[in-house]
């Protein structure tokens, strides 16, 4: 039944009302927007407002997450997964024993042959750990010792929409809360004037992404991610209309608060008091968000590090830099979506520009976080919704080939936030087609991410339709092998 959660929220709300009555501070009640009411902001990971009692369940390793989601499914074969055997067997038919009748998408299911094709981009070993990285990722190659590669990610989804939805919400079909919404609900906010959960989409085309990927599902809508846009207002409706400056807005808000306060006293509705504080929060955001997105205080060296795109709003580079600034301001969950990885044809040409988009900025982000002492407490995740086939889709030439969707084994990487640096987890077969050892399912990744944030994934639940739902459904095993 729902009554406990609702009642609990009401009681929490009442407590804040009491606090505001005693003059401690006007409290924003919605968890997402929770002001640090006690104003004693010692910055420890547990110092958050809102969220559920009893959370975190144990001391967290990571305080926040930056998820660099690569929508469209990047090819592991051209980036991270070095398979000498495939080089050897170039152009030969993928052995039937490898595919073993597993399903393919209808884009290649009736293809007459399935020749394996190695990356045309050479791989080399990097760092002290000697991780293999292709030449498409020269900057990332320099920081491999910070990364933890999971080579055995797998999913059931074979198409983009269900695949992306699965990674972000733990289910293939619409309707479930996104991971960031779960965290906002469970852990509350760590700051007083920014959202808990921010999503950004870089301005490269590709398969669409959707509100549900940062949506609240069946959780209350206050937990939905706030989308930062690169054109117009970064946060919807943030700017005052033309002709209304901050002074005029302040006066407006004072008058509005006075009127609402009169009504609160007349009608006794606590929602009215809450609304006053939400308008105050809005006013603070009108200052804090532009301050956040205004990069003019960053030295030139920072732009050099993140690369030439970093001055152009809406690029992956600019969004990585923003992600760092959001992390600095204790936003709990930052998600950067980068579209355009879906390469059924012309992969060699297209992946070069695509890799160039992300390589330097993502490496810069990791280094930057590290230098600022934030990497230890920031979990960075990089990956798409599935991988790509080792066999060629369509025409195969030295410069032209494609790869279809491959959900059975693919590579993602993590960094910081309690994850072992400089390691590689899981083994695939010679073709990178099937998992040989240590599979990691999406549910396992989610369980592990929640674990790093101090949450027992089996105990972060929300009652809906008579069931206690979890991000990990009824699954999920913590991948202990990657924990530092």
């Amino acid at each position: 039944m729902d009554s406990n959660t609702d009642l609990q929220r009401l009681l929490t709300r009442r407590r804040f009302l009491e606090l505001s009555r005693t003059g401690i501070g006007a409290a924003a009640l919605a968890t997402l927007w929770q002001q640090d009411v006690l104003g004693q902001g010692t910055k420890s990971p547990v110092d958050s407002v809102g969220g559920l009692a009893g959370l975190p369940h144990f001391a967290p390793k990571a305080k926040r997450v930056i998820y660099l989601f690569q929508a469209g499914a990047p090819s592991q074969h051209e980036l991270w997964e070095y398979k000498p055997k495939v080089v050897e067997l170039r152009g030969t038919e993928l052995p039937e024993s490898v595919r073993a009748g597993q399903r393919l998408t209808t884009m290649t299911a009736s293809q007459a042959s399935f020749p394996v094709i190695p990356s045309i981009f050479p791989f080399a070993q990097h760092g002290e750990t000697g991780a293999w990285v292709s030449e498409l990722m020269p900057h990332t190659a320099k920081i491999v010792d910070e990364l933890c590669f999971i080579r055995t990610m797998h999913t059931e989804a074979i198409n983009h929409d269900p695949g992306v939805t699965f990674f972000q919400t733990g289910a293939q079909l619409a309707g479930r809360p996104s991971m960031g919404a779960w965290l906002s609900y469970g852990l509350g906010s760590m700051n007083s004037d920014l959202p808990t959960f921010v999503a950004m989409v870089s301005n490269r085309g590709g398969n669409p992404v959707y509100d549900r990927l940062w949506g609240n599902g069946f959780l209350p809508s206050e937990y939905q991610g706030v989308k930062f846009l690169s054109t117009g207002d970064p946060v919807l409706y943030l700017s005052n209309p033309p002709g209304i400056d901050r002074t005029a807005r302040r006066r407006f808000l004072d008058d509005l608060a006075a009127l609402n306060q009169q009504d609160a006293e007349a009608f006794g509705d606590p929602e009215t008091t809450t609304r006053i504080s939400q308008y105050e929060m809005a006013y603070r955001m009108q200052a804090s968000v532009p301050e956040l997105t205004d990069l003019s205080d960053e030295p030139e060296s920072v732009f050099e590090r993140y690369g030439p795109d970093s001055k152009t709003p809406g690029t992956f580079a600019a969004n990585c830099l923003l992600a760092r600034r959001l992390a600095e301001r204790d936003v709990r969950f930052v998600e950067v979506f980068h579209r355009g990885w879906d390469m059924h044809t012309q992969l060699p040409r297209r992946i070069q520009t695509q890799a160039k988009d992300v390589d330097q900025p993502q490496a810069a982000l990791i280094q930057d976080l590290k230098e600022r002492g934030m990497l230890d407490e920031t979990l960075v995740v990089w990956g798409g919704e599935f991988g790509r086939t080792v066999f060629c889709q369509g025409r195969m030439t030295e410069t032209t080939y494609g790869r279809d969707h491959h959900p059975r084994a693919f590579t993602i990487w993590l960094a910081g936030g309690g994850v072992k640096p400089g390691m590689s987890y899981g083994t695939t077969d010679d073709f990178g087609y099937n998992i040989v050892e240590n599979p990691v399912h999406i549910h396992d990744l989610h369980a592990t991410m929640l674990h790093l944030l101090g949450i027992d994934h089996t105990r972060l639940t929300f009652p809906y339709q008579g069931r206690n739902f979890r991000l990990t459904d009824v699954h999920g095993k913590i991948v202990n092998g990657i924990l530092s």
């Binding site: 609990q8 209808t106 309707g175 809508s221 209304i244 008058d255 969707h405 339709q465 008579g466």
Partner: protein
């Protein structure tokens, strides 16, 4: 069934004991009540809840599990283990704080240890005197304070068993442990054979194994225990197990006889008597008896009636989603009759806004949207269904008919178009058109969605939970899920939907305006036919004379030119002949996603070249023909650039000498196979291909039979632009031949830059290894034509007639083929008849073409249809689409009344079953949602779940009274609304008294009127209405009002083409709803996303809402327009004008202190804008609606600011 038993206990559970329990469970820190450390504490109030949780399992009321003969739930222990005033000296405190190894309590192994704060609380309780204090909710003051209450199974015990036990001892056989189920009486009361006696011995809790197991100290024995694997319902860690008060509830219930009842919601409602009340004066309607009786039991009184203006505004917003107009208010205020309010309600129920408001609610459940969902989420046309819903409510369609039409209107005898439109309900789900998907997978998902949605909306059942296994809580088996599934699994639909537009099955659904237009045109056509018929005799005579004159002509011919794009006669010249008629090829098929880019204009004449050699003409079928050698081909230039929704035809004479070769194409062999369209000879058969990516994104048909080589034959291929393989017709020598489908599933528009080619298709550069290169034609080709329309069979026969007019004229009429006769006739009418006849003929043909185009322009709507024979349905193992189990037939869950076996097992029977009077759920679920709409919370709070995990009703008898009244009224929806909104319950003041808020924060007892933030659409609609901007047009295509730029572009690379004029100001119900990127302002105010069925919305309060109301163009413009109204209609002084606007927005005059703030605010704006007139102008320039330029800008800007203040008031966006 007696639902009233033990009603007194409800509030205890919900608010009293319950809250204490939750406090101690979840909010230890927050609940610590002590401000002053010196204050004396009360055991029952402060300490007991905590100890109940931690200690009562072993030291509580249960004798069987009691340890050390110590109980802490009665005051006796104070004498034995407590030294009042000396915590350190008290054994109780010592055991709470001692070292673990010496036996700290509670034992660590119990997982119930106390926190430091809790221990400190015990210390303070003892140190301040160890007062026993007041009894908790005690009636008898005895040692066991809650012992006297009578436990109600349905309300208290079943939910407890459901929540804690059913996962392993419930309906799901697959996960049932030890063969014990506790959801049916056969389980707990039966002898358990080798496992011992029954787990429940009625009347004797001590003898009941259930009690032993739930209160056992040993974690290995205690139930429910945490299992090694994580179950679906996972009580968390130390919170495992029942609380002491829950155990107590079970004990009491067993001791009181363990009376068992089926789950209340599965028992058909019976009409209850109106309960007696002490003070009946307050009562206005039957509903009030139930509410008042309950309030009296709780010792409370209802609130006073709200003032009339409040009631007018409340009811108008509730019933129409709009604020009351001046006229409505005046009509109500000027009505002196005692039933003035009732008459006001009747006016609302008769207004068109009523249907719009009700439809908005319904469409959330129906997951209605204007796009298909999933990846591309492109536009579809379902709004005729939305308008059907509006009309159904406005015409007060009975709810049973409303049900049957939506679920099975297509199966009704002589189903009307409206009844078919209604079935769009079950086609509103998302459907996937993503490239590469496996159609079978999404065929299943479509049906699963239908079952889940239908059962939620009509039955409040979470039947969808039984997809993969038996339901964990409700008596619904997985097999039963697939039996219901079978009703909805027989639709001739595609698993891979069209990416753009509607997918079959769909019907044309003309609006009233469409019908009117059509009728007018039909009238014109009738007249034109008549006019032409009058020329019949003259034409026949004229044709005879003409034919005779032709007989002596050397060679006269004629070509059917209607929508002929190009004609290559190939008589000594490869050039084409172009009619010069402007041919409209369909505009961008992705309309709504990308700005329309019209196809490039074709420059006539088109450059035509011979490639691969010099042209070689030989005697042909019609004059000369062009000879092809497998190398040469004609590049016929940029013409015929058809995409998948363009109708077209290709006609050609061929004389093939080998059995493979391209005849005509506009295609290229590419990386992903062929792209474009083409007509080919493949292994002696005619193949027609239309593809974006040949393997899974195209259409391909092939003739069944091979055609002979080395002879002339005429080929006409037509395509109707409907994206289905059945849309191809191939005529060989004017006869339609049978076709086989090779690929079916075209999803993307296929414009290609390749030219039209005769005898070849585009191939990739040499050595590229391109797949699917096509051999060029060998033989002869003659008389190639491309039409931008579907040639009829008769026209195909004419086109296939090679003989010239003069040749035909020389054949005796009786010996002519039908094609020959038609060719003569058409040529005569087209070119040789008298001008009057030609005109009459062309006029008629033009009108007929316009009619076809008009019909094609009408909206379509996806509907339900049945396949014959029906598709087989199987249980799907673990719900997986590709693992079928045994076959199942349509059927309904056994826990519900049986379906009529005499009727066909189809959706119609299912729909009628839902509304049979003894169905226990349909009426209850429906009335509960209406109640929720008015009061914010349903009588059953879990409006989406009436199963055992759902909430027990706050007023069970009222629910049943409403349900049975609804059925007995023949499902009269308006009567039901009237019954609710005219009740004294609804008419109460909504002012909140602090102590009531504390005790009943959600107003479940209904001791006050509803006070709720308006739903998202009403907030915007109200602002538009008070601004005078609202355009009150009902129905029609969706509109695209203001939306911040970049929203669609950044996430989906799609353009949002904002509407213009009136369409910026339509009700929010008509706002284009893109499922995956829904209107942001609606989402900010808690709208459903419409991705799935939602029947209960949240209500949050966030800064995004504040930003939206302050800064969205919508509200800035509305403020300006309200300001103009203030000046024009609001009186002379600022104060009068402020009053006017305030009244429009809230239906009240501002109180003096509010007026003071508003007027002060106004004058400060005046000062500012007079000093900065540019700012005023900038502010006033927001929004598309023109400004009244006769007004002073500083003054108008100041009023605009004040109007904005009023539109932002909490009171304005709240229904009070």
């Amino acid at each position: 069934m007696n639902l009233r038993a033990g009603v007194i206990g409800v509030v205890l559970t919900v608010l009293g004991v319950g809250s204490a329990q939750y406090l101690s469970r979840h909010l230890q820190a927050a609940s610590l009540p002590i401000q002053n450390p010196q204050e004396s504490l009360d055991f029952n109030q402060h300490v007991r809840p905590m100890l109940a949780e931690a200690c009562f399992a072993c030291h509580g009321p249960a004798d069987a599990t009691r340890q050390a003969d110590l109980r802490l739930d009665t005051s006796d222990f104070i004498d034995s283990v407590v030294v009042p005033g000396d915590a350190e000296g008290s054994r109780l405190f010592q055991r709470l704080t001692t070292d673990e190894s010496i036996g700290r309590m509670p034992p660590v192994s119990s997982g119930r240890s106390l926190t430091a704060e809790q221990i400190d609380l015990v210390r303070r309780w003892i140190d301040t005197g160890a007062e026993w204090g007041s009894e908790l909710a005690s009636a008898d003051g005895g040692g066991r304070p809650v012992a006297a209450r009578s436990v109600d199974f349905a309300r208290e015990v079943r939910p407890l068993l459901s929540e804690n036990c059913f996962t392993c001892h419930g309906p799901d056989e697959g996960s049932r442990q030890r063969g014990l189920r506790l959801d049916v009486p056969e389980g707990p009361f039966a002898d358990r054979g080798q496992f011992g006696g029954p787990v429940i011995v009625p009347g004797n809790a001590d003898e009941s194994l259930l009690i032993h197991r739930v209160s056992a100290n040993d974690l290995a024995v205690r139930m429910p225990f945490r299992r090694g694997t994580v179950s679906a319902v996972e009580p968390g860690g130390e919170e495992d197990g029942l609380t002491a008060s829950e155990v107590e509830t079970l004990r009491l219930w067993i001791d009181q006889g363990a009376e068992w009842q089926s789950h209340w919601a599965f028992i058909p409602p019976e009409r209850p008597e109106l309960p007696g009340v002490v003070d009946g004066e307050w009562i206005r309607k039957p509903i009030d008896h139930f509410v008042l009786s309950r309030l009296e039991e709780e010792g409370r009184t209802p609130s006073a009636e709200a003032d009339l203006m409040t009631l007018i505004r409340r009811s108008t917003l509730d019933l129409t989603g709009l604020p009351p107009t001046e006229e409505l208010i005046a009509a109500a205020l000027n009505d002196d009759s005692p039933d003035a309010y009732e008459r006001h309600i009747d006016r609302l129920l008769e207004s068109p806004g009523y249907g719009e408001r009700m439809a908005g609610e319904w469409l959330d459940g129906a997951r209605y949207a204007d796009t298909s969902g999933y990846q591309t989420d492109a536009e579809r046309t379902m709004w005729p269904y939305r308008d059907w819903v509006i009309n159904a409510y406005n015409s007060n369609m009975p709810f049973d008919q409303f049900t049957v039409d939506q679920l099975a209107g297509d199966l009704l005898p002589d189903a009307t178009v409206d009844q078919k439109i209604a079935t769009a309900f079950n086609r509103n789900h998302s459907q996937n058109g993503e490239g590469g998907i496996i159609p079978e997978e999404f065929l299943v998902e479509n049906v699963v969605d239908r079952v889940a949605t239908t059962s939620t909306v009509w039955m409040g059942l979470t039947l969808g939970c039984a997809r993969c296994h038996d339901h964990k809580f409700d008596p619904l088996t997985q097999k039963e899920f697939y039996e219901v599934f079978a009703y909805f699994n027989n639709v001739p639909e595609r698993g891979k939907a069209f990416k753009y537009g509607n997918s079959p099955p769909y019907i044309t659904a003309p609006t009233d305006d469409n019908y009117a237009e059509l009728a007018q045109l039909d009238g014109e056509i009738d007249t034109a036919r008549e006019v032409f018929a009058n020329f019949e005799r003259e034409a026949t005579a004229g044709q005879a004379v003409w034919e005779e004159s032709l007989q002596s002509a050397w060679r006269v011919d004629w070509v059917l030119r209607d929508q002929l794009l190009v004609h290559h006669p190939l008589n000594g010249d490869i050039a084409g002949v172009y009619t010069g008629e402007p041919i409209v090829v369909s505009p961008s098929v992705t309309a709504g996603l990308r700005a329309n880019r019209p196809p490039p204009e074709v420059t006539l004449p088109v450059a035509v070249t011979m490639e691969g050699g010099l042209p070689s003409f030989v005697p042909g079928k019609v004059g000369e023909a062009l000879s092809f050698d497998g190398q040469r081909f004609v590049n016929a230039g940029d013409i015929g650039n058809f995409t998948y929704n363009d109708p077209f035809s290709v006609a050609v004479w061929i004389y093939p000498t080998v059995d493979n070769g391209v005849i005509v194409s506009r295609a290229l062999a590419g990386d992903e196979g062929e792209r474009g369209w083409g007509v080919y000879l493949v292994d002696g058969k005619i193949q027609v291909n239309l593809a974006q990516r040949y393997m899974d994104d195209g259409l391909r048909v092939v003739t069944r039979d091979e055609l002979p080589l080395n002879e002339w034959q005429h080929l006409t291929v037509t395509y109707d632009g409907k994206k289905m393989p059945g849309g191809f017709v191939v005529y060989l020598n004017a006869e339609s031949v049978s076709l086989e489908t090779e690929t079916d599933g075209i999803n993307n528009p296929i414009r290609t830059r390749e030219p039209l080619r005769i005898g070849a298709s585009g191939s990739a550069p040499d050595g590229s290894g391109a797949t699917d290169s096509r051999p060029r034609f060998e033989g002869m080709i003659d008389d190639v034509r491309v039409y931008a329309k579907v040639l009829t069979q008769a026209e195909a026969a004419v086109v296939a007639t090679a003989e010239s007019l003069s040749d035909i004229a020389r054949i005796a009429p009786a010996s002519r083929t039908s094609g020959q006769s038609k060719k003569l006739r058409l040529a005569f009418l087209d070119q040789y008849a008298s001008v009057d006849i030609q005109d009459a003929w062309r006029h008629l043909k033009g009108l007929e073409r316009r009619r076809a185009e008009l019909w094609d322009s009408f909206p379509t709507v996806m509907v339900m249809e049945e396949m014959d024979p029906p598709k087989e349905t199987h249980r799907l193992i673990r719900g997986a689409y590709d693992v079928p189990g045994e076959r199942v037939s349509p059927g309904v869950p056994a826990i519900l009344p049986p379906v009529n076996e005499d009727e066909a097992p189809n959706r119609l029977t299912f729909a009628r079953w839902l509304v049979q009077p003894d169905h226990p759920l349909t009426a209850r679920v429906a009335v509960n949602r209406f109640w929720q709409m008015y009061f914010g919370t349903g009588l059953v709070k879990t409006a989406e779940n009436f199963g055992t995990q759902g909430e027990y009703p706050s007023h069970p008898e009222l629910l049943d009274w409403l349900a049975t009244t609804f059925i007995d009224s023949e499902w009269d929806v308006k009567a039901l609304q009237r019954a609710i909104v005219t009740s004294a319950t609804y008419r109460q003041s909504s002012t909140i008294v602090p102590e009531l808020l504390e005790q009943d924060p959600e107003n479940r007892l209904l001791a006050r009127g509803p006070r709720l933030r308006l739903p998202a659409p009403a907030i915007r609609d109200q602002a538009l209405a008070v601004a005078g901007l609202l355009v009150a047009q009902v129905g029609g295509p969706p509109v695209k009002p203001y939306q911040p730029e970049g929203l669609w572009e950044q996430a989906a690379s799609q353009d949002y083409l904002q509407s213009e004029g009136d369409n910026l100001y339509r009700r929010s119900l008509y706002t284009f709803w893109k499922r995956t990127l829904a209107p942001p302002a609606m989402l900010a105010f808690d709208s459903a996303t419409r991705e799935t069925c939602i029947v209960r919305l949240g209500r949050t309060n966030s800064p995004l809402q504040a930003l939206n109301l302050m800064n969205d163009v919508t509200y800035v413009e509305a403020s300006r327009m309200l300001a103009e109204r203030m000046i024009a209609e609001g009186g002379e002084t600022p104060e009068e004008r402020i009053d006017f606007a305030y009244r429009l927005a809230t239906a009240h005059r501002p109180r003096p202190e509010a007026r003071a703030v508003l007027s002060d605010s106004f004058y400060s704006s005046v000062d500012r804008f007079q000093a900065d007139r540019q700012a005023a102008l900038d502010f006033l320039n927001v929004g598309e609606h023109p400004r009244n330029e006769t007004l002073d800008i500083a003054e108008l800007a100041s009023y605009t600011m004040t109007a904005s203040l009023i539109l932002n008031l909490d009171r304005t966006i709240t229904k009070d």
